[in-house]
């Protein structure tokens, strides 16, 4: 039913538990939606599920899946990352300018990109946790800074060119397989990251992260270093955005518009997967399914000859509808926070006096 990206291995031997976990994240709902969209695609284009078109779809969906996993890490910890779209754009432009067509520069430049991603993630995380700037503001700032800085640096239009080697992960794959044709590297990378994400969330770090998103005071009182856990989530998001930038740059090449609006597509994907804004709930699998569903929807629009300009509108509708659905089920946590007793002793930061 779904492409291989969407099927990370089920946790060993605990099928009922795994099913319950899927249910909590809203994954079954979105899986159903995905099946529905695929069914409609199949009626429009019966050859879609023959190997090559499916693999082409997977290649196109992989960057969004990776971005959604990064966004998931941040959202589940109770924050937002709006900077990933700009970061993808900046990374592609940096790559083109620094490589400038020279094959030998490929690996060093990818190293530079990863370092830059790490830096952006650290800034996002530390400004949010230590300076206590709300993450929606921090990352909005980073987004604008990156956007402007890249334009200033390149004088408005991207210069340089990517090397052939750089374009392999985004375009290439294992060729000449029976049935599938090409197994794209992008799909392999996305699958590896998805599996790693699932395992990460089962590790002590992942458990601390989700508890932090649920109740950061209780987490801190339980010995979780909240600032560190959240900062690492931002770093993860920025590094995954860098990986996505390599794939997107390879797949689509260098343009001034690359990466634009991707942060919202990623948030749409995560929210559609049922990962509740405000933190503490949802699974990696649900985020991945959400990303595939969004991409499938866009594919369907193409097949129906709808203009791609309608995509942001659809994203907006999805975000509102998904959150409204979560709120109806009583899953949404934001109102609960607001409902907390005003000026309750525990509401005040520790060690400060009333007022």
């Amino acid at each position: 039913m779904t492409s291989p990206t969407t099927a990370p291995p089920a946790p060993r031997g605990r099928v009922p538990g795994a099913l319950a976990a899927l249910g909590r994240g809203g994954a079954p709902t979105v899986a159903l939606l995905l099946a529905l969209i695929f069914a409609v695609i199949a009626t429009q284009n019966p050859s879609f599920f023959e190997g090559p078109p499916l693999m082409a779809f997977a290649k196109k969906a992989a960057p969004l899946v990776i971005l959604a996993i990064g966004q998931y890490l941040v959202i589940v910890s109770g924050e937002f990352d709006l900077s990933v779209g700009s970061l993808v754009g900046a990374q592609v432009v940096i790559a083109a300018r620094l490589i400038d067509g020279e094959e030998a520069m490929t690996l060093p430049v990818i190293g530079v990109m990863l370092a830059f991603g790490l830096l952006v993630g650290l800034v996002n995380g530390l400004v949010t946790t230590l300076l206590r700037v709300p993450s929606i503001i921090t990352t909005l700032g980073t987004m604008l800074i990156l956007f402007g800085a890249v334009r200033y640096w390149t004088g408005g239009a991207p210069t340089g060119a990517l090397s052939e080697a750089f374009r392999v992960p985004g375009r290439g794959g294992v060729e000449d397989l029976p049935f599938l044709g090409q197994l794209p590297w992008a799909l392999v990378i996305a699958a590896v990251i998805a599996v790693a994400g699932v395992l990460l969330m089962r590790s002590p770090y992942g458990r601390s992260l989700i508890a932090t998103g649920d109740n950061d005071v209780a987490a801190a009182f339980s010995g979780v270093r909240v600032w560190r856990v959240r900062t690492l989530a931002f770093v993860g998001s920025s590094l995954l955005a860098t990986v996505a930038a390599v794939l997107i740059g390879g797949y689509a090449g260098v343009t001034a518009q690359v990466g634009q609006g991707l942060e919202f597509t990623a948030i749409t994907a995560v929210v559609l997967g049922g990962v509740v804004l405000g933190g503490g709930r949802g699974t990696v699998v649900a985020a991945v399914l959400g990303a595939v569903t969004v991409e499938a929807l866009f594919t369907l629009f193409n097949q129906l000859y709808l203009p791609s300009t309608i995509q942001p509108t659809v994203q907006g509708v999805i975000i509102i509808a998904a959150v409204a659905y979560a709120a109806r089920r009583g899953d949404l946590r934001l109102p609960e926070r607001l409902r907390r007793r005003p000026d309750h002793p525990t509401e005040r930061p520790l060690g400060t006096s009333r007022r």
Partner: protein
């Protein structure tokens, strides 16, 4: 929603009709959630001017019954008659319009709005299309005056009020609907003992006005102080409705639990741990901005009670030990090794844990499973080699008698308060701590769960752990502790042996044998700032500090230090029953006397 003028607040209630006719008659109320029956055919009569207590263990159906009355839930079957005519509320607003008001445990106030704006939220009086702020404030002032609470100014922002004052605003809001019936769900849960006095007086007022009060509480003292009639629920069934005179606290508890609670506090167990008798926690000269000269020792096998009034520094000591707010002076040693608890993480590593007083805000990640909460500390602090400890978790949970419908994958938000507390305890016990600090471990949990917590404390002590117990319930503190250290104003007021009388503890805590307060103007006390601004809000405009009865005792107490004219300090709830002895500046605290 409607622009109708606010109901005249001051209209004196008509003389109560003959008590033979109930104001409210509920018959055969049944309610199920997802196929689970939580109320089975409950009958309840409320009479004008009568306080009716609703008691039962957590999960007995008290809150559900209140919510049916308030129009939050609809009963599956059964009838509700209000003053003789049958009603069926489908929405809380309908119930409010009919004169049935409810004060829920959680406050529903907007912190940045004024008292008046909160009281008239959604039905502000208007003049030429605009909100008439003056009229709103006048009406609120009249409502407050009606309860002798002129001390709260209608234009004060709710954020700057104390919890007790906010509670009063909730009640005033309920009254502004011209309520004939007010139900209150554990209204004293968030109040300090001396603040409860104010609530008592308000309830007295309501009774005089012929309002029927439905009162849900776990505290025996309050139930017998206030209620004329008591209805006992158990597992959704009506056990019985009895006049309060006809039953004693012990008998009432027996009927709530359905079995005799043989002795309230379990016996000490035979010590068997090899650490019994060793000094496991020692504090010397500990101090910070709120504490000074804190020093005590706790030995393995010992339960040390930390007593004192609300705000005396009990919780602050716990926080300092656990690294939430640090000691800036003095030293702390666990098992003879000096530690510097700079964070909860370090404290846990050193073998010292704290069960915080506020379970939901500080203890649990409510959307996570029992297991996830139980292993959180292990994951966060001891991520390597924690597998062995994680495997022990189910055993710990079942030894705490945690039984949940969904097993350990159940999200903790669906658990009762008592079960949630057991999850918190399991989380800390999983780290195998040597020193356990418990801050109000039985607050808001039912009788059965309390017993489990008491037994656990005895069990842990016998195995050689050192336990520090903080509790506002004096009987609990005296009954469980082997030794008591009493705090006052952030200092140690003295030490008492276990089994001391409540009077002895109170005397020490209030300093009524000397007057330690005179030379301690609470300079480092953060709350010292509160009365200044609070007084500024209320003082100049109302021109009278005397009505600040709602200002809990601790504020006037600080007022003494910060020196407004004595007249402004005459705050007391004077003349209301077992009144406070305002003279010595010691706050009234006569609650919690054992039933």
């Amino acid at each position: 929603m409607t622009a109708s003028p606010p109901p005249g607040p001051a209209s004196p209630a008509p003389p109560p009709p003959a008590p033979a006719e109930p104001l409210l008659r509920m018959r055969g109320i049944t309610k199920s959630f997802l196929g689970v029956r939580v109320l089975h055919g409950i009958d309840l009569d409320l009479y004008p001017g009568e306080v009716h207590a609703l008691v039962g263990e957590n999960g007995a159906g008290k809150s559900t019954l209140m919510k049916v009355l308030a129009g939050v839930h609809r009963a599956d079957s059964g009838t509700v008659e209000l003053a003789g005519s049958r009603v069926s509320f489908e929405h809380p607003v309908q119930a409010q319009r009919a004169g049935v008001a409810t004060v829920f445990q959680e406050f529903n106030l907007l912190p940045e709005r004024t008292v008046a704006e909160n009281v008239f939220l959604g039905r502000e009086p208007r003049r030429r299309g605009l909100v008439d702020g003056r009229a709103m404030e006048r009406a609120t002032a009249a409502l407050l005056a009606d309860l002798d609470l002129e001390g709260i100014a209608p234009w004060t922002r709710v954020r700057s009020l104390s919890v007790a004052e906010q509670q009063i605003v909730e009640i005033v809001k309920a009254l502004s609907h011209d309520a004939r019936i007010i139900s209150m769900d554990e209204p004293t849960a968030a109040l300090a003992d001396h603040e409860v006095e104010v609530l008592y007086r308000i309830i007295g007022r309501l009774r005089e006005r012929g309002v029927a009060v439905l009162y849900v509480s776990h505290r025996m003292k309050e139930i017998f102080d206030l209620a004329a009639t008591i209805t006992v629920l158990k597992d959704g069934d009506l056990v019985e409705t009895v006049p309060a005179e006809g039953i004693g606290p012990a008998e009432l508890v027996r009927r709530m639990v359905g079995r005799p609670v043989s002795s309230v506090f379990p016996e000490r167990l035979e010590p068997r741990g090899d650490r019994v008798g060793e000094v496991r926690l020692s504090v010397r000269g500990g101090g910070n901005s709120q504490l000074d000269g804190i020093g005590f020792e706790v030995r393995g096998g010992e339960i040390l009670g930390l007593g004192g009034l609300q705000g005396s520094g009990r919780t602050e000591v716990a926080h300092a030990l656990f690294g939430i707010a640090r000691f800036t002076r003095g030293e702390v040693a666990v098992d003879g090794r000096r530690i510097d608890p700079r964070s909860p993480r370090r404290a846990v590593r050193a073998g010292l844990v704290l069960v915080t007083e506020d379970r939901k805000a500080q203890g649990l990640a409510l959307n996570q499973s029992v297991t996830a909460n139980g292993r959180l500390v292990l994951d966060a602090v001891l991520p390597f080699g924690s597998a062995r400890r994680v495997r022990r978790l189910p055993g710990i949970l079942s030894s705490l008698e945690l039984v949940t419908r969904g097993g350990n994958d159940q999200e903790v938000r669906y658990l009762s308060g008592g079960n949630q507390q057991k999850v918190v305890l399991a989380k800390w016990l999983a780290t195998e701590p040597g020193v356990i600090v418990l801050d109000e471990p039985t607050r808001g949990i039912d009788v059965g769960a309390k017993q489990a917590v008491y037994r656990l404390m005895r069990e842990l002590a016998a195995s050689g752990a050192a336990i520090v117990l903080i509790s506002s319930e004096l009987p609990e503190l005296i009954g469980m502790a082997d030794r008591l250290v009493v705090l006052a104003d952030g200092r140690i007021a003295g030490e008492l042996p276990g089994g001391s009388t409540e009077e002895a503890v109170m005397a020490m805590a209030t300093g009524s044998h000397g007057d330690p307060r005179a030379d301690a103007p609470a300079a480092g006390d953060p709350r010292a700032a509160a009365p200044l601004s609070g007084g500024a809000a209320a003082g100049p405009r109302s021109g009278d500090g005397a009505g600040r009865a709602a200002g809990p005792g601790r504020r006037p107490e600080n007022d003494l230090g910060s020196g407004p004219p004595p007249g402004a300090v005459r705050h007391t709830d004077s003349g209301s029953g077992p009144g406070p002895d305002s003279g010595g500046g010691s706050p009234a605290r006569h609650e919690e006397a054992a039933p």
